[in-house]
């Protein structure tokens, strides 16, 4: 106990110098802006898919194919995919930082998170851009 109290230079700074890096600022601002955008995108998506016309009963291959023929809906879905993944991923990153007790747990949970994010982002983007409405079953 006494060892922790006797410091060589008790008043010397023990933190690394500030890095003049705005990453945390941008990530904080991104969470606010993407959150707002997601409210519109996701609520709009839910409204179209579940309430409009016949709701969920009219969704089939042709319906999806019809929507993705328009670049507007392609962009809508792409924006929703990227924003939701980055927003949720960044949120989970903070939660892992908070709750993981060991550095190794923290590292592996984050790796799992980043790999899952990358797989879903690549797969989703690929599907949106290479979707073939004339595919044979």
């Amino acid at each position: 106990m006494s060892e922790s109290l006797t410091l060589d230079k008790p008043r010397s700074p023990r933190r690394p110098a500030a890095r003049r890096n705005n990453f945390e600022l941008y990530s904080w601002a991104f969470m606010r802006i993407s959150g707002l955008a997601l409210v519109i995108l996701v609520l709009g998506h839910l409204f179209i898919m579940n309430i409009l016309d016949d709701g969920v009963h009219r969704i089939n291959f042709a319906f999806v194919a019809g929507r993705w023929a328009s670049p507007f809906w392609q962009f809508w879905d792409l924006a929703m995919l990227w924003l939701a993944q980055l927003h949720g991923g960044n949120g989970l990153r903070t939660i892992i930082d908070d709750y993981a007790r060991k550095d190794t747990t923290r590292f592996w949970l984050k790796m799992l998170l980043y790999v899952a994010m990358a797989v879903i982002l690549v797969l989703g983007t690929l599907v949106i851009f290479t979707f073939d409405p004339n595919i044979t079953a």
Partner: protein, 258 residues
């Protein structure tokens, strides 16, 4: 060498003045030389409604168990020594009155007292404050001004002084920082108290190192870790709007600089 009385839970020696009621004080005790884990001890003590929790602790220490350890200096809510968790909320023991803790309908009152969280407990109710003061020092909480020193005082308008008035009230008791869930999880976060004291100089018109301090608070462990849970504002015994001060620093970073 003074007489060493065996530590006891027997509180019959505590004088019970007229009008006092017996209440149970449950204290989270920890003696690093004996215990592996903190454990709860109960003491039935006579208390006047006008007593403060600090009086009860002093009585237990003076009449029952001299080994009970806690910090206390001025005992009038100015020095900030006796921050502890009283009934689960961070308070100064010298500012909490027994009458505000009494159970309704004459039921038996129990008051729980534990050390503040997030800082290493050294013994019973007193904690190692060094990590807290390290974060405080890291934000350069002193006037930095360049150029020639003025021959008289550094004048300031009433409005300029008003800008940071709220954050000058801090007494560094650590109630806010040790109530912050982000600080519990990550002790390298600067914590509300350090940000409050940075705010006090960032918004001081006489100070010229706001940029420096904003840089420090813009880093990984700075203001962006704050998740506005308002625990700090609730805990502050001086009534400082701590979360508001943190938000003002964020706003300065967002709109005044980048």
């Amino acid at each position: 060498m003074t007489a060493v009385a065996e530590p006891t839970n027997d509180t019959s020696q505590i004088p019970a003045p007229e009008g006092s009621v017996t209440i149970t004080v449950k204290i989270l005790r920890f003696n690093p030389e004996i215990d592996n884990e903190p454990h709860w001890e109960s003491y039935d003590v006579p208390a006047l409604p006008t007593d403060r929790v600090l009086n009860l602790l002093m009585n237990i220490k003076n009449y029952a168990d001299g080994t009970l350890s806690f910090r206390r200096s001025c005992a009038h809510g100015i020095c900030g020594s006796d921050a502890m968790q009283i009934n689960g909320i961070n308070r100064l023991a010298c500012k909490v009155l027994v009458k505000d803790l009494l159970a309704k309908d004459g039921k038996q009152t129990t008051v729980t007292v534990a050390p503040i969280k997030g800082l290493p407990t050294m013994k019973d109710l007193y904690v190692d404050m060094e990590p807290f003061f390290e974060a405080f020092r890291a934000v350069k909480p002193y006037l930095i001004a360049y150029g020639n020193e003025p021959t008289n005082e550094r004048y300031q308008s009433v409005a300029d002084r008003e800008r940071f008035d709220d954050t000058t009230k801090c007494i560094l008791c650590a109630c806010c920082t040790s109530s912050c869930p982000v600080y519990w999880a990550d002790g390298s976060y600067f914590g509300p108290a350090a940000i409050v004291n940075a705010h006090r100089f960032i918004f001081d018109s006489r100070d010229e190192a706001a940029e420096e301090r904003l840089d420090i608070l813009n880093d990984t462990e700075g203001v962006w870790r704050c998740r506005t849970t308002f625990n700090c504002t609730d805990a502050c015994p001086r009534g400082i709007q701590v979360t508001k001060a943190i938000q003002e620093v964020k706003r300065a970073l967002l709109f005044k600089r980048t």
